[in-house]
């Protein structure tokens, strides 16, 4: 690892922070996340996550937390989950989800710039043909969300939300 890479990692750790690793206990089945232990030189210790991984984990936890459910921080979480459950127009749902994601990202001081928020539910869009994949997506009533943003360390991250929130 050259010096530039080490400085970049140090900057990521310094500015993007670190935290306990919360890993999905049943990926693809449940949202649940649990702490994990690693074997270290001094015995077993809590596993950690840092840098962009920490940002990604933070966003994943925030996107799977209903906004207002944390009684100690009522503004934490993703408000789009409420929109998905409401009986409103699909176009409005899409826009509420988009706003929820942007609000969530704006709240995180480590996100410097949101590059793109793309929502795809299989409907025709600009410059896109109605192929079989789009039809399948449309019929599954799944909303795919892809978000691109830049961190304060100049890293560009792309988050893709599928049927279950994941990054």
């Amino acid at each position: 690892m050259d010096r530039t890479e080490r400085e970049r990692q140090a900057a990521q750790r310094r500015y993007l922070g670190w935290g306990l690793a919360f890993e999905p206990t049943m990926p693809g089945v449940d949202l649940a996340r649990d702490i994990v232990f690693d074997d270290g030189p001094n015995g077993r210790a809590l596993a950690l996550v840092e840098g962009t991984g920490n940002v990604a984990q933070s966003l994943a936890v925030a996107l799977t937390t209903l906004r207002g459910s944390n009684v100690f921080d009522a503004t934490f979480g993703f408000d789009g989950l409420n929109a998905l459950a409401e009986q409103i127009e699909p176009n409005l749902i899409r826009e509420q989800v988009r706003i929820g994601i942007i609000t969530l990202l704006d709240r995180d001081p480590r996100v410097r710039k949101i590059v793109d928020v793309n929502l795809d539910d299989g409907r025709l869009g600009a410059g896109r043909a109605d192929d079989a994949a789009a039809a399948a997506l449309r019929s599954s009533r799944t909303l795919q969300v892809q978000v691109q943003f830049e961190t304060i360390t100049d890293d560009r991250l792309s988050v893709r939300l599928g049927e279950l929130p994941s990054v």
Partner: protein, 781 residues
């Protein structure tokens, strides 16, 4: 108090349950808390594949002063059976507290296969042997729970100390209560209320009869339980009402239930009785003109003209009433009252009554009429200027007795619940009240006092075999004798006498008591004693010889609680100064007197029984005089006697107190006490001489209540001490608590199970629990 809950977490004190409830987002899915059903036999099964599980034992109720030990066996009866280290819940653990019992190793493999356990539990209080908790008691005491996930384990670990904090908080809270405080905590409570822990004990010295406090050998001190029991007196808000005192002494429950209060340790669960039925005072008033007798004559004339009710329908009476300056409505009421009185009473033209007496008599007449009786009471005497204290103010009338047939008819009518109710609501209410109070038989109540009493006539006194005296004032036969006029500055003798029924006679209480005692005495097969007339008694007193000391009779008399008179001269001189009516003398049967003089112990017992009979009949004093010729006189009285004092009762049975009320400028001085007193007018005018008298018939005095125990119940010295301190605590200002009966009949000094009379010198020998606190002595308590 057995359950002390410190609601730190609100209604549900389970720590881990609350932690799980507070998780949000993706975390609740990994921290699961599952209650494992526990069979009454102690078997339980974790029948699912759990992830990073920890099995906890959870308390389902608060513990008090008990330790609970739970042992879990994994895979019971299987190849991998293991008995795990016991889980211990210390005293004061709160409901919801949990202790980890089993945490399978899941470092390499997070999923743990289903497993089963069995649970046994036992509980112990203080140093007592542990007892097993089984069946429904087991499931009511504990439950099992599985907390899953690494995060769950971590949260459980970091919050586990909270259970200990909650337990400590409950323990501190409990130690502030009297029921659970121990050692120094109890001493601090005692310091708060000024009651120190005893470092001594009460001891009775049989040889001297004394009771004293003996210091305990250090480091022995009063045990916590006994100290807390004493402190209980002072650790509550206490208003000394009769109900509160009864509840304090006896605890809740009916009179037939065992004592559950401060004295639940009495033999047989005996309960205390509080008596506060007062003896009523009797009053008599005599008018004495100071200086010119015309003052009295004028006053009585004015009384008849302006105040008294003249029932007879004659022109002079009608003119007198019509001439009174009263509203027309009031005059009409009086006219109606007079007319009503005439329906039930036969008056002479000159008869006059005090208005309250007229009203009370009218009530009785209306009751008779409502009952359908045609009885007309013949009034033979009413207001009489020369009638003495009973009649001169119109405060009483004489009427004839009803015949037995008339009394029986009245009684039958009032007891007839099927009679037709009349429109006279006052009379009907009085009839109901009489029925509720009880209607005695004609044989025991020939005067039909039940009728007069319920109508407000408080005195029904037989003055002859054909007449009775009725008054709305409580007089009970009391009469004051004094001249109608006295010279200013000169002393005149005034005398009050409590006439027995059928007066004139001796003191009512004394004669009645002696008669009842004589009946009881002969009823046990003893020969009758001989009563002496007043003159004969004084003659016999004068002949009583002087005796040398050391005669056997002295010991016999002392054994019966009576004084021995060896030099009769001063005693007889003092006896001669007493009023005749307050003293009666009897001569004991010859055989008994001979046995007494011979010093036979059996004779002492018989004499003690006789003294007991006199005491039970409320006589105040008895003085034996050993006469010549093997004869023994017993002087009995309702007041204190020379050398004997008040040796039968706690105080004299009767007494008199005198007052004067000046009228028309007259004033006079009077000696306040005594049956015979001296009046000295100081200013001319009219003086009303008032005699207030009491007769103690076993009831309490005003502003006094009495504490009693059933016969045969003996208090230990410690219980007696506790009782006296309790009564001190509940004694309202200005009220006397009479414990004479307790001190005489219910204290067991020598711990033989039988009570001994507590000598006056010893009666106050108890330690006062609550000490007055002074600045700087707090730490010494």
């Amino acid at each position: 108090m057995t359950d002390i809950r410190v609601p730190v977490d609100g209604a549900d004190p389970s720590v881990e349950r609350n932690l799980v409830d507070q998780l949000e987002g993706p975390y609740p899915g990994t921290v699961r808390r599952v209650v494992v059903p526990l069979a009454t036999g102690g078997a339980a099964a974790v029948d699912w594949t759990s992830r990073h599980p920890v099995l906890t034992v959870v308390l389902r109720r608060d513990l008090v002063e008990e330790t609970v030990r739970v042992t879990v066996t994994v895979d019971p009866g299987g190849a991998d059976e293991r008995v795990l280290p016991s889980v211990v819940f210390a005293p004061w653990s709160a409901a919801g507290a949990s202790v980890p019992a089993y945490a399978p190793d899941s470092a390499d493999e997070p999923l743990v296969a289903p497993f089963s356990v069995t649970v046994t539990a036992e509980r112990a209080v203080d140093a007592a042997a542990a007892t097993a908790v089984t069946g429904a008691a087991l499931t009511a005491l504990i439950e099992l729970a599985v907390v899953e996930g690494n995060l769950g384990r971590l949260l459980y670990l970091v919050s586990h100390e909270k259970h200990r904090l909650r337990r400590a908080a409950r323990e501190v809270h409990a130690y502030r209560t009297l029921a659970h405080a121990r050692r120094d905590a109890l001493d601090r409570i005692g310091a708060d209320v000024g009651v120190a822990r005893f470092v001594d004990e009460l001891v009775h010295e049989p040889a001297s009869g004394d009771v004293y406090a003996r210091r305990l050998a250090p480091p022995a001190r009063e045990p916590d339980g006994a100290y807390a029991h004493r402190l209980g007196l002072y650790r509550r808000f206490l208003l000394p009402t009769p109900g509160a005192v009864r509840r304090l002494l006896n605890g809740p429950g009916a009179d037939t239930e065992p004592n559950a209060g401060l004295f639940a340790d009495l033999p047989g669960g005996a309960r205390f009785t509080l008596r506060e039925d007062d003896d009523r005072f009797a009053v008599a008033i005599r008018l004495v003109a100071a200086g010119d007798p015309q003052h009295r004559t004028n006053f009585l004339a004015q009384l008849r003209r302006d105040r008294l009710v003249l029932p007879a329908n004659t022109p002079p009476n009608n003119t007198t009433h019509a001439g009174r300056a009263l509203p027309s409505g009031r005059l009409a009421e009086i006219t109606a009252l007079r007319a009503s009185l005439r329906q039930s009473y036969a008056f002479d033209n000159a008869h006059a009554l005090a208005p309250p007496l007229a009203t009370a008599l009218d009530r009785a007449g209306r009751v008779c009429r409502a009952l359908g009786s045609t009885l007309v009471w013949q009034v033979t005497r009413a207001q009489d200027d020369a009638g003495g204290s009973r009649y001169e103010l119109g405060l009483g009338v004489d009427v004839g007795w009803p015949t037995p047939a008339q009394a029986t008819d009245l009684r039958n009518r009032v007891l007839d619940t099927g009679r037709t109710v009349t429109a006279d609501r006052t009379a009907e209410a009085l009839i109901a009240a009489a029925r509720a109070a009880g209607v005695p038989t004609v044989a025991s109540d020939g005067e039909v006092a039940w009728l007069w009493r319920v109508c407000g006539v408080q005195t029904t006194h037989r003055i002859s075999t054909t007449r009775m005296y009725l008054s709305h004032l409580p007089t009970r036969g009391l009469a004051v004798t004094a001249p109608t006029a006295a010279t200013v500055g000169a002393d005149v003798a005034v005398e009050a006498q409590f006439h027995a029924p059928g007066d004139p006679g001796g003191n009512a209480l004394l004669l009645a008591g002696l008669a009842a005692a004589a009946t009881a005495w002969t009823g046990t097969g003893e020969p009758a004693w001989s009563p002496l007339t007043d003159a004969a008694a004084r003659t016999r007193w004068a002949g009583v010889p002087t005796r040398p000391a050391g005669q056997p009779v002295d010991e016999v008399l002392a054994a019966a609680g009576l004084p021995a008179v060896r030099d009769p001269a001063p005693v007889v001189a003092a006896l001669n100064r007493l009023p005749d009516e307050l003293v009666e003398t009897i001569e004991l049967p010859a055989a008994l007197a001979s046995a007494l003089i011979a010093g036979q112990p059996a004779a002492a017992d018989r004499l003690a029984r006789l003294v007991g009979l006199l005491r039970d009949r409320h006589l105040a004093a008895a003085l034996p005089l050993v006469d010549s010729g093997n004869r023994v006189l017993l002087v009995c009285s309702v007041i204190g006697l020379p050398q004997a004092g008040v040796n039968l009762a706690e105080r004299r049975a009767t007494g008199f107190r005198w007052y004067t009320v000046g009228l028309g400028g007259g004033t006079a001085d009077v000696k306040a006490v005594g049956a015979r007193t001296t009046l000295r007018p100081t200013h001319a005018g009219l003086v009303a001489v008032v005699a207030l008298s009491y007769v103690r018939t076993g009831l309490t005095d005003p502003y006094e209540f009495r504490v009693e125990l059933p016969d045969g119940v003996a208090l230990t010295l410690a219980q007696y001490e506790r009782l006296m301190n309790t009564l001190t605590r509940v004694c309202p200002l200005g009220v006397e608590i009479n414990t004479f009966g307790i001190r005489r009949d219910h204290v067991d000094l020598d711990a033989d199970g039988d009570a001994e009379p507590l000598r006056p010198a010893v009666a106050r020998t108890f330690r006062t629990f609550q000490q007055r606190r002074h600045r700087g002595v707090y730490d010494q308590l």
